[in-house]
Subunit: 207 residues, 2 copies
């Protein structure tokens, strides 16, 4: 339904907010009216922060993670294990894994996964840069941590093929029934994988 | 939980978005990463539109509705009935009533309702300006279209007291069972009001 906005400026702002994913016109209007009620400085800070972020943010030249410097703080951390590289789809996955505090290697952010339907091929991702790094002989293990969708599997396989003639160990995340989940509610494929890839009981004490 | 952002700029942008109502940190991150993926022009337009809106938007000096000009397009429309003023809480209510296409009078936007808990008193609203307008003898009817909460009722009564010694007709929105609603699901107060304020059957043909 067409809304009658009493102000063109308001309408344009609503238009901008509703172009964001998951934000409809009603929510957009609520956000815009909220901003309109705030003090000038608050709205200026909001607008300028968005502009500044887009203008100044960089991508780490090693792992392609978002960074404020040419090399991100993970890649420039000498206490981390630079021989282990975890391949993820995007920066959100980096955050998720970092939050587990179980990983001390470095990352490689692909920037997406191979998806012919969305027109994303290997050349649109940072796979070449991963293969280049692999050729330097400084990497011992590549952990594939992509999602278990058809696109994720395709990408996994593509990367595996590129690396299989190198001495690099290519591994993938363990899949299985989540901790705390009831067996009867787990899907068959996951439960099947849990049984096939069962681990030594003593190993569950390690953290 | 504290997230580890690899970029301070990103973190600041997420901070700004999550200060908006109804936007949590996860959603904020999703929105920021979306903007980061867009072309420079799109993000610049987004930021600048927000800044421009806040800087240039005005409030109509007659009805206090949001406007790009000193007098909004409703107040400056000579085809509308300027003797009937509909009092609403905010600009969203103006839009809702305009969308019904059943009202041809003008509006008066209070900018809120009296709510001692939130520290909003009559002086924070545009009630004085309404009373001033009423003193000009140009208004014949004031329609109170506030919500039926305790705050709305308080505000209604406050305005009514201010206007009751003038020749102005103070009316309020009809309340009753919504069109299409089953009687058995209507609450008792609403259904009771529907019976008390029943209308002549012939009148339901008018639009």
């Amino acid at each position: 339904m067409h809304q009658n906005y009493s102000s063109k400026l308001l309408e344009e702002a609503v238009e901008e907010f509703s172009s964001l994913p998951g934000i409809g016109r009603k929510t957009a209007l609520r956000l815009v009216l909220y901003l309109l009620k705030q003090d000038n400085e608050i709205v200026e800070r909001f607008g300028n922060t968005v502009l500044k972020m887009k203008k100044e943010i960089l991508h780490c030249r090693i792992c392609h993670n978002i960074s404020d410097t040419e090399m991100c703080n993970i890649c420039s951390d000498n206490y981390r294990d630079h021989t282990t590289v975890c391949v993820v789809e995007n920066i959100r996955d980096v955050m998720s894994i970092e939050n587990t505090q179980q990983y001390s290697g470095i990352y490689h952010v692909l920037g997406g996964i191979i998806s012919p339907i969305d027109g994303i091929g290997p050349a649109d991702l940072t796979i070449d840069s991963l293969v280049e790094k692999a050729a330097n002989n400084s990497i011992r293990e590549v952990i594939l941590a992509l999602s278990t969708t058809m696109e994720g599997d395709t990408t996994n396989f593509y990367i595996y093929k590129k690396l299989k003639d190198t001495p690099i160990n290519v591994t993938t995340l363990a899949r299985g029934v989540a901790i705390g989940d009831d067996l009867e509610y787990a899907d068959e494929v996951t439960l099947g994988r849990s049984i096939l890839h069962r681990t030594r009981f003593e190993d569950t004490f390690r953290s």
